[in-house]
């Protein structure tokens, strides 16, 4: 049985209301931190917990917090990244919708730790229902004295705002998010300086994912060491995984890090196996931007060990035979899935969402999409396959922000692991699995 730290009370009737939330122990971490801990002690607990950012990159949260420029006499900001735009990732909206006070509680304790008196939750603009839920919950928190001036008589003040975003994927990249929050075009900034030194309005800022911030109350209540005892190795605690694709039970699961991938896919507690009892073909384990792994490599590492749901295990083998935990968007393909078609679809997304500031991403994403479109629609050439590999290589690692990599990795990995499928599409376009499954109409464009 896996431990639940975030979603323990998610099914309790009325948990989205503050009274019920408090009845189940909610806001205890605010009382504890503000009355008995110093901000630095909260940072220490988070460091001890080994919590890593849940937004995708997995950077240690305590360390990120300790980079905040404390010497600066400017205001400090905490910004919650609730943009949630990575295709395949839908865990943050679930958490905010079902148990909004957990995020607000986390925002208060985390803001206290960072000496921030103003904090923002930046929510993807399309998720208006989530924005309404959060705004109502924030109003409740103000009325109970958890937000505003002199919280719980501690002398600590905090104002918390929800900001709807522009609805562009790039606005989830932390510096583009800050630009957008400042009311500008959501273009990523050149780094350094990092937000810890030069963030919102040029002030020291921490940007954290929803799930990261939601883990902080538990860490403060139970202690960082207790959190570190859960999980495996440097992948401590639990992780929300949003699972989708050809599985029997799509949905959001809280797993203890270190769960075997095989168990996650086939156990009835989680994905419940492949739909229609078909064969597993491939998995994109961490949101559409991470490398795709074929069945053999997603269940076992190249060395033959069981692949685990953890940062290290999924990355084992590097880009040759590994992938990434990323944001935890777990996309499963059965043996009827057409890799070319799915890759085209992913690439179409990155092409559409590139901000267009830097040449390799602006021009390269479109090029890859067009070539993939041709291959999928029966107009490909053998040389196109190496062309794609080359274009991806010319994008990867050469851009301002990681969106370029996010567009390049799926292409590079899909061709590495499923090259023959691309060749089949060129040789015999009618062999396309998607075409057989959905008929010609699916190919009309």
């Amino acid at each position: 049985m896996s431990k639940k730290l975030l979603l323990e009370h998610v099914d309790k009737e009325g948990i989205q209301y503050i009274d019920t939330y408090i009845k189940f122990g909610g806001y205890a971490s605010v009382t504890k931190a503000l009355k008995s801990l110093s901000p630095d002690q909260v940072v220490e607990e988070v460091k001890t917990s080994g919590l890593r950012g849940r937004g995708g990159a997995g950077f240690p949260t305590g360390m990120k917090w300790s980079f905040l420029d404390k010497k600066s006499d400017k205001p400090k900001y905490l910004v919650c990244n609730a943009d949630e735009s990575e295709p395949g990732t839908f865990k943050d909206r679930y958490l905010m919708e079902k148990i909004p006070h957990l995020l607000i509680e986390g925002m208060i304790v985390s803001s206290f730790a960072l000496n921030a008196n103003t904090s923002y939750i930046y929510v993807r603009g399309e998720m208006m229902y989530v924005i309404k839920i959060l705004e109502r919950a924030i109003a409740e928190a103000y009325s109970k004295g958890y937000l505003g001036k002199n919280i719980m008589g501690s002398g600590y003040d905090l104002n918390l705002y929800v900001q709807p975003g522009g609805g562009a994927y790039i606005c989830g990249e932390e510096t583009a998010l800050l630009e957008s929050l400042e009311g500008k075009r959501g273009n990523p900034r050149n780094k350094p300086p990092f937000p810890a030194v030069w963030g919102l309005y040029g002030c020291p800022t921490v940007v954290n994912n929803v799930e990261t911030i939601a883990a902080v109350p538990w860490i403060v209540n139970q202690g960082g060491a207790a959190y570190a005892a859960i999980g495996v190795g440097k992948s401590t605690g639990t992780k929300l995984i949003s699972a989708c694709g050809n599985i029997n039970n799509p949905g959001v699961y809280e797993i203890e890090l270190g769960l075997p991938v095989e168990e996650f896919i086939y156990s009835d507690n989680y994905c419940g196996g492949i739909t229609n009892s078909r064969e597993l073909k491939a998995v994109v384990p961490g949101g559409s931007s991470v490398p795709i792994l074929p069945k053999d490599l997603i269940l076992k590492t190249a060395a033959g060990d069981s692949r685990l749901m953890s940062y290290e295990s999924l990355a084992e083998g590097g880009f040759v035979s590994g992938s990434m935990l990323g944001s935890g968007g777990f996309i499963v393909f059965d043996d009827q899935a057409c890799i070319v078609r799915n890759l085209w679809n992913f690439t179409r997304f990155y092409h559409h969402e590139s901000c267009g500031q830097c040449s390799p991403c602006r021009e390269g994403t479109g090029w890859m999409e067009k070539v993939l479109h041709r291959i999928e629609y029966g107009h490909g050439k053998m040389t196109d396959i190496d062309l794609l590999v080359d274009v991806a290589k010319n994008i990867e690692g050469k851009t301002i922000c990681p969106l370029g990599d996010a567009a390049a990795w799926p292409v590079a990995s899909a061709i590495r692991h499923f090259r023959s499928e691309f060749e089949d599409h060129v040789r015999n376009p009618d062999s396309c699995l998607a075409k057989h499954l959905h008929g010609d109409f699916a190919l009309a464009h």
Binding site: G356, C358, S359, R362, E363, I400
Partner: protein, 322 residues
């Protein structure tokens, strides 16, 4: 005075003050410095976008001798003491640069024969060094109509490489920026809001900072190929700007006025529209003399600066040899 930092680029070292970027250090060092399409030294916050200036940092600093994992944009990366940089000497850098040029040329037609920027175009030079003779790109390209943005400037959006220089210039030189980037990704375009006009005292500078022929001078378009015109340094008393310019002459007529560019092709002192567009009489100016032009530049090709050795030609003696 803080200590100088030693940086080695392609095996040659130079000491520079803290805050200097790799590109600035390389320019000071001379020789083959990285190209730059978006960075512009006299405009703040430019750089980092086009990615043609990527270099390899083989050693981050004396204190941290490890290489940087990725290529870095030399225009925005500051040097550290003991940094070792590879530019021309690293094949990975050259490959990346070739790749960027290939990307830039996807949506930039090589219409140099009919483009007013020919001979002064950074992308033309870059393609010469890093381009291929044929393209691997077979898909559709962007198409745009030309638009008049204001009385003096015409925008050829097909040629724009989205370096954002004109946006920074407008933001920093005028009190209200009225043009910018619309849309995202490869459908982004430079435009004014609802095809508005750009009309302010310093609008002409966006023409000078544009590295390609996307923003053209309506008073000059199709008047002359740049290498056939004669540039002279000149100045005048101006209450708006420095008044220091280059006059481009065809015969005795001023056909264009621009700001002066330094050896890196960048304007250091911007000029107002009055100097640029209204003073077209030679008597408006104090002419300092012929402008020094880099020997490698195509503009030098008319060689008017050389003493004119005109052998006496007897026009009647057509068939001397017979």
């Amino acid at each position: 005075m803080s200590e100088l930092l030693k940086v080695t680029i392609d095996g040659r070292s130079i000491e520079v003050p803290p805050g200097t970027t790799i590109l600035q250090a390389a320019r000071q060092l001379g020789g083959k410095y990285p190209p730059a399409m978006c960075y512009y030294s006299s405009l703040e916050n430019t750089g980092g976008k086009c990615r043609v200036c990527l270099v390899k940092v083989a050693q981050a600093s004396e204190a941290n001798p490890r290489p940087m994992p990725k290529l870095v944009a030399s225009c925005i990366t500051r040097v550290e003491n003991g940094m070792v940089v590879e530019n021309e000497t690293n094949q990975e850098v050259i490959n990346a640069r070739n790749g960027v040029v290939e990307f830039l040329l996807i949506n930039h037609p090589l219409d140099c024969p009919v483009c007013d920027q020919a001979g002064e175009c950074d992308l033309q030079n870059l393609s010469f060094d890093h381009g291929k003779e044929n393209t691997r790109y077979e898909e559709g390209r962007r198409e745009f109509d030309k638009i008049d943005i204001g009385p003096y400037v015409q925008l050829h959006m097909t040629r724009c490489i989205l370096c954002y220089r004109c946006v920074y210039a407008a933001e920093q030189l005028t009190n209200q920026r009225v043009h910018g980037v619309l849309n995202r990704g490869d459908v982004s375009e430079i435009s004014t809001y609802i095809k508005n006009a750009i009309d302010n005292d310093f609008s002409g500078n966006i023409i000078d900072v544009c590295p390609v022929g996307a923003l053209t001078d309506k008073t000059y378009r199709f008047k002359q190929r740049v290498w056939f015109s004669k540039p002279f340094d000149a100045h005048r008393e101006c209450s708006h700007c420095c008044g220091k310019t280059v006059l481009w002459l065809k015969g005795d007529n001023i056909i264009r006025v621009t700001a002066r560019k330094n050896e890196f092709g960048e304007v250091e002192e911007f000029i107002c529209n009055s100097c640029r567009f209204e003073k077209r009489d030679i008597s408006d100016w104090i002419v300092e003399g012929p402008r020094k032009v880099d020997q490698e530049s195509v503009i030098a090709s008319n060689k008017y600066e050389l003493p004119v050795i005109s052998p006496a030609v007897n026009v009647d003696a057509k068939f001397v040899s017979e």
